[in-house]
């Protein structure tokens, strides 16, 4: 009865390599991401994080269009 849902992938040649490939993809993706984020410089982080607040703080926006 279970033949319809079991053994679906067994016919693929070299199926054993798939979990390995997946592990490598994910491990490297997340380790790479962590390294990259950890190495970002503090000034950049501060600058980028403050971007939404910029228009309010350094008066680049004026309420009334100047003539």
């Amino acid at each position: 009865m279970l033949k319809f849902i079991k053994h679906n992938m067994e016919t693929i040649v070299g199926i054993e390599i798939f979990p390995l490939i997946s592990f490598i993809i994910f491990f490297s993706f997340f380790i790479g991401l962590l390294i990259y984020v950890a190495r970002l410089s503090k000034p950049y982080i501060d600058k980028a994080g403050a971007l939404p607040l910029e228009e309010d703080t350094n008066s680049t926006t004026t309420q009334n269009p100047m003539p």
Partner: protein, 710 residues
């Protein structure tokens, strides 16, 4: 660099904001109407256009694409200009985006009640509208990307990454899921069949939640929460991890909508694993939003806008915890087909999307109208109405879900189902459905209070159409200043960021789909499964057009209580000719996959004319008009041809004689009805076609069993 003067376009923001409010109201009203129909089915009025099966997609589409869609554009058009210190690249494209989107919504609001639907959830709109959506979406994306290109701020804030990923992924999802073969102006068949169609649909459906309801709103969260709290996001590093991890993992999780179905087991497991992993980035994002308010919680007491945001982010956290839990097979066994799923999506919809939109509106409208919010008190009233609305909406549905599931699977000591009649498990939870409607009403009243409040605000204000700003222009070409991090150039080049996002989201989709499409053994064929007869095909189209799949599944899961109740569990090989698949996702009525041959034709006839005749207490709408509405047999040939193109093995030339078989099968059913005392039945009607289809459902395997026994 020289300081340049420019103007932000507030007009487009205002237009989208108004559209958000209008469609929000419409979407919620339709939702309330649908909710009430479940308790008082006569509210459908006995006409085709207002039956639950057509109204429910109208509600979901209105809320997702009209309310949240316009909400996305409102927030993006406001924040993008400011984050990049530039006006939108093209006012014309902004306007095309606006009017195109509204036209699509109107088209949806007209065609869905008329019964033009593909049946695929959240992708119900037929092919001409699909094309329009693709065009308008590309217009939006082009305008956004060009605005980024001509920006005056070197760095792209993380919100913009979320916008870019949204644009590119929604485009991919929409195009891949909408592959369909048109047979007439408003009718098409899905390119994929059965299991493959289901996989593509839920890859789309899940990621519509991910990339339409989540990533753009996360972008808004990353912009508007710092704005409202007047402090930067808690951790910008965390937001980067949130972004990449989320878009990488989200795309794989689609198969969790198909647990215990005929989808290959490996794909189901993939869906579960990735859904569980999703907790990490989602909660990272939620904490990032909430912790931004550290030391500013006093503001939350005074600012209704922040209250809405806090509840929104909390609801995001709850949904993104609940979602992975629902992806665990044993829990999914309970939630799938019950109201648990409905409760879950409304925590997300009402809490996360709704409240974030409201918070944004309370902040944005006074801002662009250069005034203060008309009444803080009313905003607080709205907040509490909305919050209570969510509670009253969700709790009864959780209760209903557990009750119904417990009743479904209860066996007596002698090994029989305690509630063999499905209807009993429905009437049991009707009080909960009524309470849910009350919750919806509360939420809707809150929204009405908001609209009044904002209207008064607008009246007292003075709209700033073009907001002047100044910023230094960017140097035309980037000058290399020595050592820098590799990601930095990426942030300067939006197109690269887009391409990498695209690659990241494609990996998951490809890994799931390619084997399911190419490896034959994933869908073992069953010799006794034959294509539908032409009349059954017509009947199937009636089933699709009426949206029967909104309440009836066609997928018996391999559980004892389901095989006991419905019959043999569904096999992937049974659906190979199903363009589109009709597995459904909710059982407001019983499963229909094995309904073929279960009742006589006359039972179905009487049941459609008036469900309560055959099932007292039934909440199914009446479908009496089907006995009079004719089917269009001139389309038979086109349908057969289309199916053959899609790989269904009808013999060459069969389309020329198919209508002979139609008439013959109609006559058989009419005779059988006559025998049971139902006289004067018009043969060429939707009723007869639908009966033909229903009587065919799931019988291919039954036939096989009969032969085996002989």
């Amino acid at each position: 660099m020289k300081i340049e003067k420019f103007y932000y376009d507030n007009q487009i923001v205002k237009m989208f904001a108004y559209a958000t409010l209008l469609w929000g109201l419409v979407g919620m009203l339709v939702g309330l109407y649908a909710a009430l129909q479940l308790v008082y089915p006569s509210l459908s009025g006995g006409i085709p256009y207002t039956t639950f099966g057509r109204i429910r997609p109208l509600h979901t589409n209105a809320v997702i694409f009209a309310f949240v869609g316009n909400g996305i554009f409102t927030g993006v058009y406001y924040s993008l200009q400011r984050l990049l210190k530039t006006r939108m690249w093209s006012d014309m494209l902004s306007k095309i985006n606006f009017w195109g989107w509204q036209l699509i919504i109107v088209a949806a609001a007209i065609t869905l009640p008329l019964g033009f639907t593909t049946s695929k959830e959240y992708a119900e709109l037929e092919w001409p509208i699909d094309i329009a959506i693709a065009i308008v979406w590309v217009v939006f994306g082009l305008n956004m990307m060009m605005t980024i290109v001509k920006r005056r701020e070197r760095h792209l804030y993380v919100a913009i990454w979320f916008y870019i990923a949204t644009f590119v992924t929604v485009a991919v999802l929409h195009i891949v899921n909408s592959f369909e073969l048109p047979i007439s102006f408003m009718k098409s068949y899905s390119w994929y069949a059965g299991v493959q169609d289901a996989l593509v649909q839920w890859w789309y459906g899940h990621n519509a939640v991910a990339f339409f309801l989540t990533t753009p709103y996360l972008g808004l969260m990353y912009y508007f929460i710092p704005k409202a709290a007047n402090r930067p996001i808690y951790s910008y590093r965390l937001s980067i991890i949130h972004f990449w991890a989320l878009i990488f993992l989200y795309i794989w999780a689609g198969p969790h909508h198909l647990l215990y179905t005929s989808l290959p087991d490996w794909a189901q497991s993939l869906g579960t694993v990735f859904s569980l992993m999703l907790i990490a980035p989602s909660w990272g994002g939620m904490l990032n939003g909430l912790l931004t308010l550290r030391g500013a919680w006093d503001k939350v007491r005074e600012e209704p806008m922040l209250k809405f945001m806090v509840v929104a982010v909390t609801a995001y956290g709850m949904s993104t915890f609940e979602g992975p839990m629902l992806s665990i097979k044993s829990i999914n066994a309970i939630s799938h087909y019950t109201d648990w799923t409905i409760a879950h999506v409304h925590i997300g919809g009402l809490g996360w999307n709704g409240f974030l939109t409201f918070g944004m509106m309370y902040w944005l409208i006074p801002k662009i109208f250069r005034t203060k919010l008309y009444s803080l008190k009313l905003a607080n009233v709205h907040f509490w109405l909305g919050t209570l609305g969510i509670v009253f909406y969700a709790l009864p549905l959780y209760w209903a879900a557990f009750t119904q599931w417990a009743m479904w699977q209860e066996f007596s000591r002698d090994g029989f189902l305690v509630y063999p009649n499905f209807l009993e498990t429905v009437t049991q939870i009707l009080p909960m459905y009524l309470l849910r409607a009350v919750g919806g009403l509360l939420y809707l009243s809150g929204a009405i209070v908001m609209i009044y409040n904002l209207r008064q605000t607008v009246k007292s204000g003075n709209f700033l159409k073009d907001e002047a700003a100044e910023a230094a222009g960017l140097e035309p070409a980037y000058v290399y200043h020595g050592k820098e991090h590799w990601h930095r150039p990426l942030e300067r080049r939006p197109v690269q960021l887009m391409v990498i996002s695209l690659v990241v989201i494609l990996i998951g989709g490809i890994v799931e789909m390619v084997p399911t499409f190419l490896v034959k053994s994933n869908i073992p064929t069953i010799a006794s499964v034959k294509p539908y007869t032409p009349l059954e095909l017509h009947g199937r189209d009636v089933y699709i057009s009426e949206g029967c799949n909104n309440c009836h599944s066609q997928m018996v899961r391999p559980f004892r209580h389901e095989t006991e109740r419905y019959g043999e569990y569904s096999k992937s090989g049974e659906f190979v000719y199903d363009h589109p698949f009709l597995w459904g996702s909710k059982r407001t009525g019983p499963d229909l996959h094995r309904v073929g041959g279960k009742y006589p034709d006359s039972w179905h006839y009487n049941h459609m004319i008036e469900p309560e005749r055959m099932a007292p207490g039934s909440i199914m709408p009446v479908y009496a008009w089907m006995a009079k509405t004719e089917i269009d047999t001139t389309t038979t040939a086109a349908k057969i041809n289309a199916m053959r193109t899609l790989g269904v093995p009808y013999e060459d030339g069969y389309e020329l004689v198919a209508n002979v078989d139609v008439v013959a099968q109609q006559q058989t059913i009419v005779n059988s009805l006559n025998k049971d005392g139902i006289k004067n039945v018009a043969p060429n009607t939707e009723m007869i076609a639908l009966i033909a289809y229903l009587q065919r459902l799931g019988t291919d395997i039954k036939l096989q069993n009969q032969t085996a026994e002989k």
